[in-house]
């Protein structure tokens, strides 16, 4: 699994961080998504798929 985030679409909700805190974070200054692991290990895949699904700005795309 490879995660691609679109920073220009990110609205800073932090929904991804609430769902998958080991994979996503936010920049302190503007809240834009930070990828902690662009190719997360298998145990995180379920949470990452949910994070991509619930992102309110459709800013997370998965290639897998």
């Amino acid at each position: 699994m490879k995660i691609i985030v679109d920073e220009a679409k990110c609205c800073g909700a932090g929904t991804c961080v609430l769902v998958a805190p080991e994979v996503f974070d936010q920049r302190d200054e503007d809240g834009i998504v930070v990828l902690l692991a662009a190719e997360p290990a298998e145990p995180h895949h379920v949470a990452v798929r949910e994070a991509a699904g619930v992102c309110p700005a459709a800013a997370i795309t998965l290639n897998s």
């Binding site: 800073g12 909700a13 932090g14 929904t15 936010q26 809240g31 699904g53 619930v54 309110p56």
Partner: protein, 382 residues
Amino acid sequence: MSVLIVGASAGGLATLEALRRKGYQGDVTVLGEEVHEPYDRPPLSKQVLAGDWEPGRARLRPAAALSSLDAEFVLGDRAVGLDVPARTVHTASGRALRADAVVVATGVRPRVLAGQAGLAGVHVLRTLDEAAALREDLLGSPRVVVVGDGVLGAEIAATARGMGLDVTLAGPQRAPMESQVGPLVAGLLAELHAERGVRLRLGFGVRELTATAGKVTGVRLDTGEVLPADVVVVAIGAEPVTDWLDGSGLRLENGLVCDSRCRAAAGIYAVGDVARWHHEQLDTLLRLENRTNATEQAGVVADAILGEDRAYTPVPYFWTDQFDAKLQVHGVLPAGAEVTIVDGDPAVRRFVAQYRIDGRVTGVLGWNMAKQARIRRQDVAA
């Protein structure tokens, strides 16, 4: 087992995706009134209206991701009726679509002013086509009046002003979004808009549109004052699209009324702006018009369809971008709440405000402090 989702916007698509994520492999049909593939609405009043994004960038998913969902999309056709016992939806073009589970995701449509229909120069903004039509008119350097001081009206005013236009914002509140964010933050928003050159004519009702030869010329306030305009945008709220369910036997009261599982009847569910469901913790019927609600509720509806029903008890969330201000709201900000700045400083327009009623935190608001606001979301009492 088969699922029919009526509505191909955020809530409908999220329901389809949640079903697939949870392992459902049966048939899914998605019926959409608009011809476009699912797209996102929040950018319409901002990036798309401003021209910063070409409209295709608002697509919710790339084509490959959509097709991998293995659903049948029936687009450009509108639901006109639902036979509840037969779980069959009839469409404008004469289709009859039957499924074991029907998900109502028909959203809301903008309210309009009396006399607005057919008047040139008057716009609402809900769909991609409406955004394109408004943008085309804005490119002619018109004088713009935005009627409506809620989130959408304030965003449109900011975007139009950012395009260099002469913009007036009118509405009944003392400051933009006052009922959503309270007087302190609304006052800061008013300052921001005024400083950027938006003319604020707030605190008055709108009596009517004025027009000559079928084209709008202005907005007349209750005071009698006329705000001259070449383009008027009406953003005075929206109402749930449930007229197609009239006579179905379902309970329609400011939305499709559902139980705590977002179930309106056996095999009938609702998701997104149209759904008014029973929030167990608050013990009240609630209908939320925000973007996150569509996706979070979709997960609950998918679980209910798959027999793993659970109560839907979200912490509401919305955001808005106006000029350089990015506001995040977690929870609810009731009128009369006590507001405390818990991080940052309003003077530098970077802060987190906490809202309390009787000592209990009901919500937090971040102004250019998105991450810090999200962290304080955990303080919000459920």
